[in-house]
Symmetry: C2
Subunit: 289 residues, 2 copies
């Protein structure tokens, strides 16, 4: 029976940990901010070190900084890690951070799988995530059952920690730009007097279709931003990580990053990322005021 | 039996005219540059005026300038147009141009349907286009059989000429940005050492998916640009038309427009629009040379 310490119980982490518990794993969750209740179906540890006393430690925190603070210190993952245990980095932390984590975990006699995920809250809850994973064969052998429980598509991309993050950065590049242009297109439609709901139906049936337009578009049109599936600040972070690895000009990313950063600077960082449309409609309203 | 004069026999126009002829309409085609052969299944007129001696005149030229020159002069559509005939503007010409065309056609006692299309060459050949149409009820009544023969989805958006173009501009905004970011994402993948073919498969199965990534991505990866389904210069024109109607900042469009314009300036305007990826890979090669 595999035991799993699950670190990070946010919008994605909690349903993932719940799904693992429901799938028969013995899960102990830890999050410095989020409590655990009976519905979650797993126990809460008092520290990350306590949660890390397990066969598998899954890291699903929001930022590289959170990952580092979950790892270090007397109450951190490294303090509780069993020799030979595997740490699965499921957060999008970028290349530099995942390599630093790997060095620390390996120094503590642990193994590392670099395995960021995509797919959103709904697929997190049903074990249907897209997982972009890289690790040594030994590390994979210890993580496979957990990965297969969480992922509908688990891509094993190679042996080098970092390859998972690289693939995820490419994914986030497209996702971030697609959300920003969905906002720009729907705001433009409205500015021309085109009904946004009708536009959304037409666009989604043709060459203009994207997953993000179909998923975020209805929330943009309805202006429902208060129950974030994924927050504005996630894309400020993720497109920042994309830019940090840029070896060529990325003008589409730069333009999208500026929209998310502007929304965050306006105080909307914790709203749903579809709220990026307000960076267009607000300007419009101000110009017409 | 409806007779149709089909003006403009380019990459899209020819398969559309062929499909109409194969569907039982009596079609006469005209294009100043493109000849007609036996395989097309329809006759060629010597002038636009001669082709316009029909119940329906379909305009499927490439630019607003071509539309104006097809219309005017002693050999133009207006010189041959029957009173009460309907002109269907199927090209993406923008608001100003379609309204100028409508004024001229109505002065010649014709009716106008504003009906730009989307969907690409393959769907043009099978009558499965997305058509965004606006017109008076009288004009629609005379054009409906032709529209239904060409379109898998024919959206009737209202009575005002211009509403079709408006919807098409929103569509092209998204299409142009999606092509540019597909190029940027695949070039970025390659710069990180991620295999572009594997990346394409993974991205297309998740939240990063778009119609354009799936359609243009394989041509970008294979670097097959010589048989244009839709050319670079089409997006230079269409994103230019989008920008001409901008009443709010459009940073995503601006960034995409610059990529297509850079490719065109490099002499690649007549290549397939997937060649926009060379504006990334060329820089990359030059930097590493």
């Amino acid at each position: 029976m595999t035991t799993i310490g699950f670190i990070g119980l946010g919008a994605m982490g909690r349903p993932m940990a719940r799904h693992l518990a429901a799938s028969g794993f013995t899960v102990t969750g830890f999050d410095p901010y989020a409590p655990v209740d009976r519905l979650d179906g797993f126990e809460r540890a008092h520290t990350a070190a306590q949660a890390a006393d397990a066969d598998v430690v899954a890291l699903m925190v929001a930022t590289p900084t959170q990952a580092e603070s979950a790892l270090g210190g007397p109450d951190g993952v490294l303090a509780g890690l069993r020799p030979g245990a595997v740490v699965i980095v499921m957060a999008t932390v970028g290349l530099e951070s995942v390599q630093a984590i790997a060095a620390q975990v390996e120094a503590a006699s642990g193994l590392v799988v670099d395995a960021p995920v995509s797919g959103g809250v709904r697929r997190a809850a049903t074990g249907d995530l897209l997982i972009m994973a890289s690790a040594s064969p030994d590390a994979f052998a210890r993580a496979d059952a957990t990965l297969d429980a969480l992922g509908g598509n688990v891509y094993r991309l190679g042996a080098a920690v970092g390859d998972g993050q690289r693939m995820k950065l490419v994914n986030q590049l497209l996702c971030g730009v697609h959300i920003a242009v969905a906002a720009e297109g729907l705001a433009y439609a409205e500015s021309l007097g085109v009904d946004p709901e009708q536009a959304l139906a037409i666009l989604s049936s043709g060459a203009a279709a994207s997953f993000m337009l179909a998923d975020r578009g209805p929330r943009m049109v309805a202006e429902e931003f208060d129950e974030p599936k994924s927050a504005i600040d996630i894309f400020v972070k993720d497109l920042g990580l994309v830019r940090a690895e840029a070896r060529l000009p990325l003008p589409m990313v730069d333009a999208a990053f500026e929209r998310f950063a502007a929304a965050s600077a306006h105080g909307d960082g914790r709203l749903d990322d579809s709220a990026v449309i307000t960076t267009y409609t607000r300007i419009d309203q101000e110009e017409h005021a």
